[in-house]
């Protein structure tokens, strides 16, 4: 049934991937934002310092002896050196003619007024940022337009930007790493109830059909509700089929015993050997059927009782002794001696009816498969790992190669061909012991089989 399940995708993976994608987009946006902001700020810083330089030069421009004169202030250029180690260029024009400075600087852009303007161009193989501003001076009554430009290369700015970009990248990466961690944790904890439910259901024993009771999150309520309803229906239909089997077995057994009686009466009357053989065959078939019906009934009873196991103190020795006494006469018919030895007073918690049924099936086998005139040993003892009942016989043992198969339902050994049986005896014994937390151990020892009923330590 399992293994055929078609798994498609994983909620956890999908959740993580989606969260990570979101985080990546956010981180990228963050980095972009930071670098853009940094670029703007760096540009504005450079612009404002360039303009400060331009203004400081413009302010020293005067008219002396009928000519435009300028006294370049030291700070005008040194202040540029304070911000970055960039190359600095400047030029002062009076009515278009170069007064001083780097005459070959690119011309100031259009529309440069008193408030100045900025431009980014190339000069001497380097990208420069240039600030320019104009002012009118009156020389002997005629207005002269002076233009001051100060420019700076952008290496320092580029270096700073690269630094900020690195920092931004690191922040983005850190952000992403953190988000990734959170995503995994979220996915993990979000799916914990689901995992818990799956764990709780899969940890259950095969017979545990109780509904799920633990608190579950709202989203899982429908699923768990359906699961519980499903379990309920399953329980109901299971118990119905058990009931049905018991009923059927019971109904078959009664008419069978009538048929057997009639067959035996007929056998006594019939003389011809072929008719007697046919009747004997018939009686045997009836025995098989009624044994099967009886064992089926027992099995149904065992299944029912193990579902609602009632535990009480059971004295194993007493139980074994009663059973040996009860089966003693049957054994004596075939000169089989049953010896019981008790070591201490082992007591287990369990259902006496079930344990008795299990031991009876094992003893029944020992008697049934033993030849005439031999012995069966029952040992009841208390070991370190729990109490145990060991039944040894001299019946030749299990067929070695079928040992593992014997406690399966309807499994019969090759040595059982002559013997009436249904193949359910060891199944019943095994199910009883497993319901008590113990186990059934089969082995061959000496001249016969050794079957041990192990109970768990209390």
């Amino acid at each position: 049934m399992s293994g055929a399940l078609a798994v498609s995708g994983s909620i956890r993976r999908r959740l993580i991937v989606q969260l990570l994608l979101g985080a990546a987009v956010l981180a990228a946006a963050l980095v972009l934002l930071v670098t853009n902001l940094a670029r703007t700020v760096a540009q504005e810083t450079q612009d404002s310092i360039l303009m400060a330089s331009v203004t400081s030069i413009l302010d020293t421009m005067t008219v002396r002896d009928g000519a435009v004169s300028v006294d370049l202030p030291y700070a005008a250029l040194s202040m540029l050196g304070n911000v970055s180690e960039d190359r600095v260029f400047y030029r002062i024009l009076a009515d278009g003619a170069v007064l001083t400075g780097y005459g070959d600087l690119p011309p100031p852009g259009e529309g440069v007024g008193r408030d100045g303007g900025y431009q980014t161009t190339r000069y001497r193989d380097a990208e420069i940022r240039m600030a320019s501003a104009r002012r009118l001076l009156s020389v002997a009554g005629t207005p002269v337009r002076v233009t001051v430009s100060v420019a700076q290369t952008r290496d320092g700015q580029a270096r700073r930007l690269a630094e900020i970009r690195r920092l931004g990248g690191a922040i983005g990466l850190g952000f992403f790493a953190l988000a990734a961690l959170l995503a995994v944790v979220t996915a993990q904890s979000g799916l914990r109830p689901l995992r818990n439910l799956a764990g709780a259901v899969s940890r259950r024993g095969p017979k545990d059909l109780r509904p799920v009771r633990g608190p579950v999150p709202q989203e899982m309520a429908p699923l768990v509700g359906s699961l519980n309803r499903f379990i309920e229906r399953l329980t109901y239909s299971l118990s119905r089929s058990e009931d049905f089997i018991a009923e059927a077995a019971h109904r078959v057994r009664t008419p069978l015993s009538t048929v057997r009686t009639q067959a035996e009466i007929a056998l006594r009357r019939v003389e011809r050997p072929e008719n007697r053989a046919a009747l004997k065959e018939m009686i045997r078939a009836i025995d098989e059927s009624s044994r099967a019906a009886g064992q089926l009934l027992d099995h149904a009873m065992v299944t029912f009782r193990t579902d609602h196991l009632e535990r009480e103190a059971v004295d194993l020795c007493g139980l074994a002794r009663d059973l040996a006494d009860r089966l003693g006469p049957v054994a004596e018919l075939r000169d089989i001696r049953i010896a019981l030895s008790c070591d201490g007073q082992p007591v287990v918690q369990g259902d006496a009816v079930l344990i008795e049924n299990a031991l009876r099936n094992v003893l029944d086998n020992a008697i049934k498969y033993s030849p005439r005139d031999c012995a069966i040993d029952i040992e009841v003892g208390q070991g370190r790992d729990g109490a145990a009942i060991r039944v040894r016989d001299q019946a030749g043992g299990f067929p070695e190669d079928e040992l593992d198969r014997m406690p399966m339902r309807f499994a019969r050994g090759s040595n059982a061909a002559e013997t009436v049986g249904s193949g359910l005896g060891l199944t019943i014994a095994r199910e009883v012991l497993e319901a008590h937390g113990g186990r059934l151990e089969l082995s061959n020892e000496g001249e016969g089989a050794c079957v041990t009923l192990h109970f768990p330590p209390c």
């Binding site: 006294d71 370049l72 050196g81 180690e85 960039d86 600095v88 001083t100 001497r124 380097a126």
Partner: protein
């Protein structure tokens, strides 16, 4: 000792490419290392060859197969040589402003190594300029001429002294001709930035018929012979190196402030042998800033690495600020003011 040389001549017959030649004046030229070595390093410098030769020798010995051509020129001629495309690998100069301009205008190439990390941040610029010495601008006096007078410790002391003893010092004061000497101009412009007293001192010196010099060496020479009594803004390292003069000169570092010039090295953009150039710059840096003291290092090592030792020491800051005084208009204005004060 002055030669007129052409850059093409310097690079020798090997250089077929040096077509565009720029004429510039050199003061000296020495060769260190094996004459016929396979590799060559062309160094142009403002530092005296005698002073520098031992340090060059150490480098040549370590390299083994390298010939160093060491050409001495004034800082302005050095500038002309480099901007004119003369085939040098490394430029060493005391004119920090001109070196800064070289780096700013793209005539140098960047260099980064384990050694460059030794240089404190204030002593390098843009991975292009690396300082390898810190030398004070000092007052050099002749103790003989100062008999009975107290040695001035600040510029105000000096102004007072000169005013009080005009007759004694007339014609016996020396300083740089800032129009002629790049280093003198650098010192003067730094003085102007540092204190108000510079213009007053210049006026006083002007009134005393101060003699003007091209170079520190000449000033030191004249002080030692007693021709002048004192020289202002002399390169202290050169004076200190003249141990042969004994107590005929005395070096005074002013306590109000002492300008520290940083001699810088730059690898030129068109260097033919950039690897050797980088190794050479690293060699200079290690000599200046490295852990072990090198006997051949010709400049005084400041006792403490990194920051200036005393509050009075004012190292000139590398950076674009140095470009201001190179501005043609600015220079013109400064020189005319200086001439006014000097009465020239």
């Amino acid at each position: 000792m002055r030669h007129l040389a052409f850059s093409a001549l310097l690079s020798g017959a090997l250089s077929v490419l040096a077509v565009a030649v720029a004429a510039f004046e050199i003061e000296n030229h020495i060769v260190v290392g094996p004459e016929d070595a396979p590799r060559r390093l062309q160094v142009i410098s403002t530092a005296d060859a005698d002073l520098f030769a031992p340090l060059l020798q150490v480098f040549a010995d370590r390299q083994g197969d390298l010939r160093i051509d060491y050409t001495v020129a004034s800082s302005t001629e050095l500038m002309r040589a480099v901007t004119g495309g003369a085939p040098f690998d490394v430029a060493l100069s005391s004119a920090m402003d001109l070196q800064t301009k070289l780096a700013n205008d793209g005539h140098t190439r960047p260099h980064r190594s384990a050694a460059t990390a030794l240089v404190p941040a204030r002593a390098r610029w843009r991975d292009h300029l690396f300082a390898f010495s810190q030398e004070p601008a000092a007052l050099v006096i002749s103790p003989a001429a100062f008999q009975g007078l107290e040695v001035p410790r600040t510029r105000l002391d000096l102004i007072r002294l000169l005013r009080d003893h005009e007759d004694r010092f007339r014609g016996r004061v020396g300083t740089y001709d800032v129009a002629q000497s790049g280093l003198g101009y650098l010192f003067a412009t730094q003085d102007v930035r540092a204190s108000e007293s510079y213009w007053r001192l210049t006026e006083v010196m002007g009134s005393l018929e101060t003699r003007l010099y091209c170079c520190s060496g000449d000033m030191i020479e004249d002080v030692s012979t007693g021709r002048i009594a004192l020289a202002y803004n002399v390169l202290g390292s050169y004076a200190a190196a003249r141990t042969d003069l004994g107590d005929r000169i005395e070096i005074v570092e002013f306590q109000d402030y002492t300008t520290l010039m940083l001699r810088t090295a730059a690898i030129l953009r068109d260097a033919r042998n950039p690897d050797a150039a980088a190794a050479f710059v690293d060699h200079l840096i290690r000599a200046a800033w490295g852990a072990g003291e090198m006997e051949e290092y010709p400049f005084p090592r400041l006792p403490e690495q990194g920051e200036a030792v005393s509050a009075a020491l004012r190292p000139i800051r590398l950076g674009p600020g140095l470009l201001v005084h190179l501005d043609a208009l600015k220079r013109q204005g400064f020189l005319s003011e200086w001439r006014d004060a000097m009465r020239r």
